[in-house]
Structures are given as structure tokens and as C-alpha cells.
């Protein structure tokens, strides 16, 4: 379960493209596609490089799990059932320090709703979804 009270995250369904990503999450590692021709990271996983267009130049590369809070809102009236039971809840955009052009979503476990320190550093954690699949999450560095 999530550490956020009432939250029931829908579980990601891996497919051929994303299976290695979700398998790594279950090992508590964050891996992104890196185009070895362009040295460019991709997230979410893509079928081909968005610079050179190559589909066979990707390697899965583990990233450090350091980021910063870009902006945030507070979800107060969600259409998604598993979130309606957890409102109000933070919804933040996290940029990856290794490449700020890559961003992630986060509910910032441990940070009270609306008390989000914009610009603060965050670190990678993992949380459980409805079927036990782990997903990557972020928490403010103390």
C-alpha cells in the first residue's frame, strides 16, 4: 500500500516495451532508455529515439534518483476512484537532476497537502500499487 492514507494507486500494466522498466522498479531501481548514438535519455519509454529516430540504439540505464520539485498542485476533486479516497493530495512535477528535460509525477509522500517546498531537492523511493507492483516515487530530502 501507499504510505499516503486512503490512496489506492492503479497498478501499471507492463507491455513488451515497458516490462524491463517495471521489473527494475520491483528491484527498487529506476532505469531509463538511453540512446547510445545520441546519449539522450527517454521517459516514459518510447519505441524510438526522439532525436535520431533509431529503434535499436537503446540501452536501459540506471539513473541516480535525485531530482527537484518543479511545480505542484493539490488534487481536491479527482475523477479517479483510488484518489478520491485520498483527497486532498499533492501532485507535483519532478525534474531529474541528471537531465532536467526528463520529468516525473509525484504525490510527495510525507509532505502535507499544499505545504510543498517548490524548488527543493527530492530523492527516489518506491511505493506499492494495488497489485503489489512497485512504482517510483519521490520524497523531499530532509
Amino acid at each position: 500500500m501507499s504510505t499516503i492514507p486512503g490512496l489506492q494507486r492503479p497498478a501499471p500494466v507492463p507491455n513488451e516495451l515497458t516490462q524491463p522498466f517495471w521489473d527494475a522498479c520491483n528491484e527498487r531501481r529506476l532505469v531509463l532508455q538511453n540512446c547510445t548514438l545520441c546519449e539522450r535519455l527517454h521517459y516514459p519509454p518510447a519505441p524510438r529515439c526522439n532525436l535520431c529516430g533509431s529503434s535499436d540504439s537503446f540501452e536501459w540505464k540506471e539513473v541516480q534518483g535525485k531530482g527537484h520539485i518543479d511545480v505542484y498542485m493539490v488534487i481536491r476533486d479527482s475523477r479517479i476512484r483510488g484518489f478520491r479516497s485520498a483527497q486532498p493530495i499533492n501532485f507535483a512535477v519532478i525534474t531529474l537532476d541528471e537531465d532536467p528535460g526528463i520529468n516525473f509525477l509525484s504525490n510527495l509522500p510525507g509532505t502535507p497537502p499544499g505545504e510543498v517546498p517548490v524548488g527543493a531537492p527530492v530523492e527516489l523511493i518506491f511505493e506499492e500499487t494495488s497489485n503489489g507492483q512497485l512504482v517510483h516515487e519521490w520524497q523531499v530530502v530532509n
Binding site: 494507486r9 492503479p10 515497458t18 488534487i75 501532485f91 526528463i102 520529468n103 494495488s130
Partner: protein, 431 residues
Amino acid sequence: MVSDTGWMRNREGMGVWEHRGKVAIVGWGQSHMDRRWDGVALDRSCGGLTREACLKAIADAGLSLDDIDGLITSPETRAEQTWAPRPYFDPPYDTEDGLTKASAEWIQRELGLKNVKYFNSDAPYIGPMMGLAAQAVGDGLCETALVWYPMVNLEGRYGHNNPQNNNQEAPGATAFTLPWGYQNGAMFNNLVVFLQYCQKYGKSHDGLAPLCLNLRRNGLLTPWGYYALHEPYQLTTEDYLNGRVIEEPLVIYDCDRPVNTCAAFIFTTAERAKDLRQKPVYVLNHAQNNGRGRSTMATLDEHQEAVASLARKMWEGSGLGPADVDIFNPYDGYLTFTQQFLEGFQWHGVKWGEAHDFYAEDIRVEGPHPFLSSGGNNGTGRNRAVLFSDSIEQLRGTAGARQVTVRAETALAGCNTPDSCGFLMMSKNPD
């Protein structure tokens, strides 16, 4: 989603549109508008309202049913609510086609159209669909196209019964968004971009209040609009600032209200338009964006580049520039993204970061900067067609209480969002 995008003008460097000034809009019809379909009155179902709008558009143009040889519509009626068990009725209301959508074949049957040679029920939402219609007439796929766009709203809270929002699993691309509460649609990413905008330019959500109030004011001057019909009162700044929070800081008044309605338009050749009832509104260009950002959330930089590119495509294809656009009706479905279009097209000289200052000036229809003279979707209900119909009325000079006092010879309208949209440049003159 429409699979064939070969007709789109979605790249820079395509030059002047080959049919510039050779296609015209000569008719428009708007059906009745309700908040929801009650599931009972068949003349207020999607099919019933579509029939009403189409007949009005044909009559407005002074055409007969036999003149129509093209039928174009979109399946994206946004009937997100499931509603089960759904009762069916006697034909022609015995399937979803007729109740929650109205295909080209359904309308052909219902209106008894005998001369149709071009059918397209798979057009995208109305922004690009208007470009598709102009291109189809220009390319000669048909001479006179009847084009309609229904919006459907049923019982229940919007989106809450959408199966995706009640699923314990997140398949496909949603695996990277849904587990964190991201809702599909334009709300979340455009709010993220809005927050980045506020951060970059030192603005705040309160800066949208004058836009919201003026849209309601214009909407109340639109006799068929939702608020004029059903809730005919003006909002105050206090109402806006104290609006019910949906996703903080977004409030209910930032969101266009889902309604049940249909609008229809008639496109024909400039040649055919000459001797019809209405003064033709010529199409000078159409342009589309269908990109997406690099990562999970598109960013302010990416949206600004998207609207800048859209503007370059529009100027290139139409031969006009920012100072030539008199009427400007970009989408306002969430007020958080409208400023991107205003700044991207530099309407009335508005530059990056200046939209909120512009909103605080005089944007009334009788003033010098009649932005969104339509009242938009915020002011008339989420029908999207008003962006185009007000443009047509302003150029015809028939906008009534909304008629602008500045020059009204050209109009630019479109939707939906900065990275995914279609816009149309219209003019009183073909050249």
C-alpha cells in the same frame, strides 16, 4: 483519433495554402443547448439536436437538401459517462448512433440526402475538423459540405463513470501517469504549464479573473448559450476568487461546463458561394499542431514553441500577420491555456508573459481589444463551435449585442490545446 493526417497543414515550410480564398463558409446552425440529455426527449438527444443544427445551417445558407454532397463529422462527442442500462427507442433511435453520436450515414438517412458522394464520420474534434472540411472542398472531394459537431452530456458527474477512472489497473501509456492521479484530458498538463508560466513571469491564478468575467459577460450576450438560456446572471470577482477548488489552484470557473448540443456549418467553393444567401466567409488557411512534449509533462517552453510554430504556419499559409487579425477566438476550455494562444499569435501586440496584464485592460466587445468576442466555451458552455460561429457572425456583421466596434474583416479561431489543435483563418475577402 483519425488515422489519416495527410490532409493536415501541420508542418512549417508548406507555403501559401493552395486553396486560399477558394473555399467559403456560407451557413451556420446552432441547436438548442441543455446541461444534459434527460434520456427521454428524443428531439434533445444527440441525433435530434444534430438534425436541428443541420437543418438550420442549410436554411441559413439558402440551400436545399439536394445541394449537399459532402458530410463530415467527428465521433469525439465526449459522452464520457456510461449510463447503464441504456434504454433504446424505436428507430432511428435504436442504437448509440442517434442517441450519443450522429454519423454521416445516420444524418443522410434522417434528412433524406440524395446526392452525397463524400462521407467522413471519423474527423477529429472540431478544431482540425474545420480544416479538414475546407481541405475536402478545396480538393474537390465534394462541392458543398455539411459539417457538424455534437457535444454530448449525460447523467452523472463528468468523467466519474469513465471506466478508465475506476480501473485498478493502468494499461498502456497511462501506466506512467494514472498511478500518480493524472487525469487524461487537457486539465492537468495545462495546469502544470500554467504554474510554470506563473513562476517564470511572476503571475498568479487571480490574473485570470478578468478574462472569466468578460467571457461570462459575452456569453450572456449570446442568446443560444448555456448561461443566457439557463443561468442568466453575471459572475463577480469574488465569485471567481472563491470558486470551488478542483485541483488547486484551478477552480470550477476555469473549466468550461459540459453541455448537450450540436452546431453545424456549410462549406462550399468560392464560386458556388457567390450567389448564396449569406455574405461568404472565405477560408484563407488552416493549420494544425499534433505534437507532444519530450517527457511525462509537456513544459512551458514546449507549449510556447508549439504556439509559436502554429502562428508561423498560419502566417505562412494565409499571407497575413499578427496585425491583420481582427477577431480572435482561441479555445478557453480551461482558462489556464488560453493565454498561450494570445501570446503565441501576438494578438494586439501581446508578448510572452503579458496576457494577464492584457486581461486587466478593456477586453469588452465594445472596447478596443475584444478578445474572445464569442464568450468562448467558458461563457456559453462547452460546445467549442462558438469559436467559429462568432467569427462568422462578426465578419457578417450579425453578432448583435456582441458585434465588435473595431474592424472585423478577418477572424482566427481554433481549438483545443497548444500542442494539439487546429485553427482556421477566415476573411470577408477572398484575397
